[in-house]
């Protein structure tokens, strides 16, 4: 089913948790609400479920306004961060709960529960109690329980937040597969950008109760609409400066800023992989000292410091890294190959795209 959110706001007393948020989720889509804690994403999810009442705005599910429809009648599956399983019921009892409330007949209930236990890889665990299960199993029971009554929409609130890294990866893959199989419109909240990128078709980025950007993982990564998104999604070097004679100077670096009047103060951002570093101090024009090398598993991150005290992060793949012989503290040369002018309120007329910088 399609979900539509129009100008949704929520105040808790004097605290404005959500401000004028509008977006829509397409039929069968898997969409992530991404943002730091306290950014209002969970509140939006809870309002869709009916667990919170909006202060203003409208929620439509399949074209029907549901603001005044009770939680019980919204036909929504909700998965809580801490599972919220019924401890006094077995796995079977938990999954069957919604069906019993809806007065399904016993054979149909049993059939449906077994179907879901199989789907979630929980065969044979029907008679266990929640405390006899691992964290990953508990969360799969919670998902099975939410899906059992065939909800029109599945909402997941930080579903993988309470399990360790390895299980989290497993659960993500479960969710993707599950979504491919069932194609139920799903919305999940996370503060983990990697998780959002991996799992969802589209990402909605929240900050301080406002919607910052909607887009595919590639779009929010490559074309951040706001400085917040640029900082929050992936890592980015950010320097500040004032436009003088068509460019921003930040320490040793110069960034052309065509079409922006002199005197405008701007922020310039560039991803770590646009910072090239060489062990040969004369290979690139700029010099810096190598402060730290971080091993990231798939790549290396280098932290360099210019003579002016500017700290820059560079990312290097393993092959590149192996060809150099870096030692912490040594003098290196570097070049910034691409940059972006970060979006700023009140400043318009410049290109919102990655700009290549002239070679060394």
């Amino acid at each position: 089913m399609k979900i539509e959110i129009r100008n949704l706001s929520k105040k808790f007393g004097a605290v404005q948790a959500v401000t004028d948020v509008s977006f829509s989720v397409n039929e069968g889509e898997l969409l992530a609400l991404l943002g730091p804690s306290g950014s209002g994403k969970t509140t939006v999810l809870r309002m869709i479920a009916g667990l919170e009442t909006p202060t203003a705005g409208e929620i439509l599910i399949n074209g029907q306004r549901v603001n005044d429809v009770s939680i019980q009648d919204r036909n929504i599956g909700f998965v809580f961060q801490h599972y919220a399983l019924f401890k006094h019921l077995t796995v079977f009892g938990n999954v069957a709960f919604g069906l019993k409330i809806r007065r399904w007949i016993r054979p149909k209930t049993e059939e449906r529960v077994h179907e879901l236990l199989t789907l979630m890889g929980l065969e044979g665990l029907g008679s266990r109690y929640p405390h006899q299960l691992s964290g990953g199993q508990r969360q799969r029971v919670a998902i099975a329980r939410a899906l059992a009554p065939r909800p029109s929409v599945l909402l997941l609130d930080e579903p993988f937040g309470a399990v360790d890294a390895k299980v989290r990866q497993e659960l993500r893959e479960w969710l993707i597969r599950l979504h491919d199989d069932l194609n139920v419109t799903s919305l999940f909240v996370t503060h983990d950008q990697e998780e959002a990128m991996e799992v969802s078709n589209r990402i909605i980025v929240f900050s301080k109760g406002r919607l910052e950007q909607i887009g595919s993982p590639a779009e929010v990564y490559e074309d951040p609409a706001t400085e917040f998104v640029a900082r929050f999604i992936g890592s980015m070097n950010i320097v500040e400066g004032t436009v003088r004679r068509g460019k921003v100077e930040a320490g040793p670096l110069e960034f052309p800023t065509p079409a922006i009047p002199d005197g405008t103060s701007l922020r310039i951002g560039f991803r770590p992989y646009y910072v090239k570093v060489s062990e040969d101090p004369s290979h690139f024009r700029q010099q810096a000292r190598l402060r730290h090398v971080y091993f990231l598993g798939v790549a290396y991150r280098l932290e360099i410091e210019t003579a002016e005290g500017l700290l820059l992060r560079s990312r290097m793949n393993k092959e590149e890294f192996r060809q150099c012989r870096f030692q912490a503290g040594q003098l290196v040369s570097y070049a910034v190959t691409h940059y972006r002018i970060l979006p700023q309120e009140g400043v318009t007329g410049y290109a919102l795209e990655t700009i290549p910088l002239a070679g060394p």
């Binding site: 667990l51 019980q72 009648d73 809580f80 401890k87 919604g98 939410a146």
Partner: protein, 265 residues
Amino acid sequence: MRHFFILTVWLYFGVLLLGPILYLVLQTFGEGWTVFFSEITKPEAVHGFKLTALITGIVLVVNILLGTITALVLARQQFPGRTLLSGLIDLPFAVSPVIAGFMLILLFGPDTLLGTLFGAAGVKVLYALPAMVLATLFATFPFVVRELTPLLQTIGTESEEAARTLGASEWQVFTKVTLPAIRWGLVYGATLTVARSIGEFGAVLVVSGNILLLTQTATLHIYQSYVDFNYAGANAVALTLLATSFAILAVLEMARNRTTGRAAM
């Protein structure tokens, strides 16, 4: 040194608990079974047991209902005065039951507004069942509330919300989710309530008037028998109450194991 402390503990328990209990048992059965049975089947004793059972029953029902509601409100609702009410819950533990009884006499005395009102309606509060129930309620009301409030706070509201999203009505949420989650805590609180109701003496003595065959509970009967030098009667009734307490203690232990077992998982 270690032996000294272990011995001290044994002595402590011996003097305080085991000695008196053993002595009571010996004294009672020293008179023989026939005396025991004739004493506890005397009309005064039977009336005392029945009255104690009646008061305990009423108090138990009221405490389970109002105690659960109070705990739910205190744990889940934000309202002005919540902190004050939470603080007042322990008051009955701090105030002597005799004072509680005395306050009831002042409140319902023949010259007061409430006393006149009830008098006009023909309802006898003081020196009758209503005051005895109120006095016992005063002494027992914290048990269920104190047991359930922190329990409800620990459990949180997520599983209740989950039940709502699955279509459960408020009543279904309470009976199918909240109640099963707090049931052993409720049993624990109820057991303490029963034990305290059976044993309550001071407050009941003050408000009942201790009228034979009318307002004399089992504990008052023990006291009266003792004052009247009927030691056999006092012993027999006391031993019966003691046995009841042991039974309740057993239930209590069971409930406690269940609650801690649940909390650990």
